[in-house]
Symmetry: C2
């Protein structure tokens, strides 16, 4: 029992309550490292996941011993370990969609010269699972594993196709509806977009995440009606109607090969 016997006044939003389960702590640690994208000291890590220092040391040691984490070169920093890489490759091997999807995306970006991405829903967020940069001098690139609010993207509108309104609401927070430039989307508009995208079988958004790009996305089905992933192209916002149309054609073609009963 800590200081707060009378009132836990200064409870500045205890993100993590007392006596958290070790496994949960570990999951937070992994997510935190995924966010920071770099090796980090154990003390800072403890702060970052809001866990006691002693606990963090114990857990990190377990994880390092197991190979899920590795001590970084200088000695007291940790980051992901080889074993996670091996497990990740196992995932790719066991997952036809991802394996073939990666190839299709790579091919598509070579074929079109545009940045191409494979996207999936990951714990309620839009996630870039694989991306292949285009050949433009100023390439629009984004990292694998990047997670973005669903309403900001064309893919997001496709990934939510077929969900009930309540489900969509549960997945989209208020913050998600605020675009990077400060504009705020209306939830109803977003849900309308989803319905439209479902019917047309593709989705195009212009200047949503930034003012210079347009996003073309098509669904990949794992079963009739079930959208498992999307393929998308990120192109300059001034791309002509004709070219946009033909790119969407290409996308649909490629995505069709990946789909199982569209």
């Amino acid at each position: 029992m800590q200081d707060g016997n009378a009132l836990a006044v200064s409870a500045d939003e205890k993100t993590t309550a007392s006596r958290e389960k070790g496994l949960n702590r570990v999951l937070e640690i992994l997510d935190f490292l995924h966010q920071t994208q770099r090796a980090i000291g154990i003390g800072d890590l403890a702060k970052g996941v809001n866990a006691p220092r002693s606990t963090t040391y114990t857990l990190v040691r377990s994880l390092v011993d197991a190979g899920l984490l590795e001590m970084a070169g200088d000695g007291n920093r940790v980051y992901f370990g080889k074993k996670l890489y091996l497990y990740g490759m196992d995932y790719v091997r066991g997952n036809d969609l991802l394996r073939r999807g990666r190839q299709e995306v790579d091919h598509l970006s070579r074929e079109t010269g545009e940045t191409s991405e494979l996207c999936m829903l990951q714990s309620g967020r839009y996630t870039i699972v694989h991306s292949s940069p285009g050949t433009r001098p100023f390439r629009i690139s984004s990292a694998t594993g990047l997670q973005i609010p669903l309403p900001w993207t064309a893919s997001g509108r496709l990934l939510l196709a077929g969900l009930e309104r309540a489900e969509v609401e549960a997945m989209v927070s208020e913050d998600d509806l605020v675009l990077p430039d400060g504009r705020k989307l209306r939830l109803d508009d977003f849900i309308d977009d989803i319905a439209k995208a479902r019917v047309t079988g593709y989705c195009v958004t212009s200047g949503l995440v930034d003012a210079y790009t347009k996003c073309l996305a098509v669904p990949v089905f794992s079963a009739p009606g079930k959208v498992e992933a999307t393929m998308c192209l990120v192109v300059p916002i001034d791309t002509s109607e004709e070219r946009t149309g033909s790119l969407i054609g290409l996308l649909r073609d490629r995505a069709g090969r990946l789909s199982i009963g569209g």
Copy 2:
């Protein structure tokens, strides 16, 4: 830490004692899935890691919720999840050696037509971290993540360079010294090999893991004297001296680019 069930065959013995910590159970689950290389039912999983069924259900649910595992298509099987893939890609991104090593290996196998591999030490075992198949009609292929006793391989002799005798002994079990065909290596011979390999800067083994192949390996240094990985080529055992020599030259060249202060 018993590295456990290499041969869990008749080992009825309680691999896992009573009241094991949840995190350890999770680590066993992940390793078990890595071994089986396929989705598996939760009941079988519990048997496989020798854990109580109720506990296994609880842990699996946590892991599935977190995205580290995913329910496989048919509904009651689990396997690795997207998040492990994302973490794995983070590892690659943060690890120059691996990222560039993969490229070098791919290039090498295209250039030579032989199977090429990048190998590292992983929890005391030789691990194929990336492999690129050759172009021979009967290709010699091996899976990423495969773990093999150190004495069976040319790379193993390089990876242990510079270790004390005691350290080597600790890493190599009696079983490891028995080759697939039943022959038994003497530990002293193995240690001699390590010393020789260290001096010559490469290692060639013939007919160790099987009777048809020869293994050529060179070290990749992360610091002067510190062998971080090896690159190797798996070639037919009847490859001529000349070709072997020139392949080793190529290997050294490529490995040199990866090394930091050799």
